[in-house]
Amino acid sequence: MKAAVIVFPGSNCDHDAYHVFRHILDVSVDFVWHKEKEVGKYDLILIPGGFSYGDYLRTGAIARFSPVMESVIVEAKKGKPVFGICNGFQILIESGLLPGSLIINEHVRFLSQNVTLEVENSDSMYTKSLMKGQKLTMPIAHKQGNFIADEETLNQIEGEGQVAFRYTDSEDGNPNGSMNRIAGILNNDKNVLGMMPHPERAAESLLGSQDGLQIFTSILGTA
């Protein structure tokens, strides 16, 4: 197993993700600069959080055209795991690998706080070591994480089991205003996952939560 963490100008959670693979899970991992053209040799591709290209134009809109993304899209369509966190989720949406859109948070503020998630689909490669309804605590840190989709797309996402995680159904449970409290979605083939919360920042007890680690161990099959 060899993982790639893609690095764009402005990525800032790349080292956190690398740390989880290398130092917590003892998995071979490379940083891959966005100008690289080939990621076929990797078994897992992670697109980290941050502010690629300063969030200019729209979050993820410019990173989506980085040279590396062509190969990421090819590998994703072959069924390889491609995992986008926060800005990575925004990039996967812009590249068309995931449906819907992420717009500015309902209350127009940057949100940096812990959230509680509920596992919705526990059958995917990312969630198989979790149980449906299981609650996970991890941070969010974003301004554009308000998930929206047209009715047809939303029905498809819900009908095909593409919702991986939801924010909890409580008064402060859906801080960014996402439709159907959606926090993370899978593509139709369930090999691409995008999520706004940061599991890589909740992967060791020293940081207050290990709940995020279970997503990584699910993908690696080491749970």
């Binding site: 729209r58 055209f65 717009i103 500015i104």
Partner: protein, 81 residues
């Protein structure tokens, strides 16, 4: 020659920034505004190409990068200076 490009949210798409600006206007005493929608304005300059060609380039730019087809619509005008 210039393209003046306007990008706005589709009807029905929530615009939290526009709503916030509307509240702010109301709070400073500017009333009777039904709604505020925010968008983007982009200018593109061209040298030595026809007006039709400039329109084609502006349209392709909007389709491929400048607007998000899921949430946004765009329009543009080509003006000679």
């Amino acid at each position: 020659m210039k393209a003046k490009i306007y990008i706005s949210y589709k009807e029905g798409i929530l615009d939290p920034q526009g709503q916030t600006v509307n509240h702010a206007l109301d709070s400073i005493g500017i009333k009777k505004i039904h709604s505020v929608r925010m968008g983007k304005y982009i200018e593109m300059e061209f040298n030595g190409i026809s007006k039709d060609k400039a329109g084609e380039i502006a349209d392709e730019s909007c389709r491929k990068l400048l607007a998000n087809p899921n949430t946004e619509t765009y329009s543009f005008e080509i003006v000679e200076e």
